[in-house]
């Protein structure tokens, strides 16, 4: 079994109000390290055996059609053992 991880993030030019709210909350708790916070989504997809290149291509297709909205989001696909 392997896990294919799809990370979806808003494109840099799209305003991320949730990330901004988190960035504003950090200093209230005394955390002063952040100059900016962006919030995204992570999908963990379990597959049998080692994913093949064809399977990964299918996942990328699904990421483009469903998991992300290419108008406002970018995604990355990687395999975690």
């Amino acid at each position: 079994m392997a896990t294919i991880v799809v990370d979806v993030m808003l494109k840099p030019e799209i305003l991320d109000p949730q990330g901004k709210a988190v960035a504003a909350a950090l200093p209230r708790l005394g955390f002063a390290f952040a100059t900016d916070v962006r919030q995204g989504k992570r999908f963990e997809i379990t597959v049998e055996g080692d994913p093949t290149e064809a399977q990964l291509a299918e996942v990328r297709d699904a990421a483009e059609k469903l998991l992300s909205n290419p108008v406002i989001e970018n995604f990355t696909v990687r395999v975690e053992k």
Binding site: L10, E13, I14, L15, P17, L66, L67, N69, V71, I72
Partner: protein, 226 residues
Amino acid sequence: MKIGVVTFPGTLDDRDAARAVRAAGGEAIELWHDDAELKGVDAVILPGGFSYGDYLRCGAISRFSPVMEPLIAAAQGGMPLLGICNGFQVLAEAHLIPGALTRNQHLHFLCTDQTIRIENTETAWTNSFRENQEIVIPLKNGEGSYQCDDETLKMLEGEGRIIARYVGENPNGSRNLIAGITNERGNIVGLMPHPEHAINPLTGPSADGLGFFTSVLKTLVAGGAK
């Protein structure tokens, strides 16, 4: 004239949309997300609500409902289609109109009576209004901030495809105060505020919203979208 109103699991405003259709003089036909055909309707409304719990992204899962397949084909063929609020989000997810709706800039859910200005009175859904007519209808959304890239925004502005703009302070962070847009042909309209809740002063802030529903009936009587 038969106007279909689609109900997805989690849709809220289907009954008000059907009521608005009847108030305008049309026949409202219930369509279910799982329907494989459109029951011979002449136009369709995708009403507001929280279809599929807004899971993944608003409208992202509804967009792949069985009813969307014949609906997308019909709308691409010129059938009038109005997406209100969540319906607007579904239209954007289906790429029937450009851009996307994102979280309100201030993160709060909005519920207010909003003044909007109708700037394009040529579409299938806005031809009953006067150009630049200001109307007051409810605005209620969590993810109503219209976003698109600069090129798309320029195209929408240049082609007069912004059908309605918020008047006054920007309520949700939408680019260029966009409250609603149309496709190139003018048969598909996406609108964030809710005309179906404003068809009678007894139950809403005004009767201003009725114009969207009388517009489509006028369009259909005249022989379809231009």
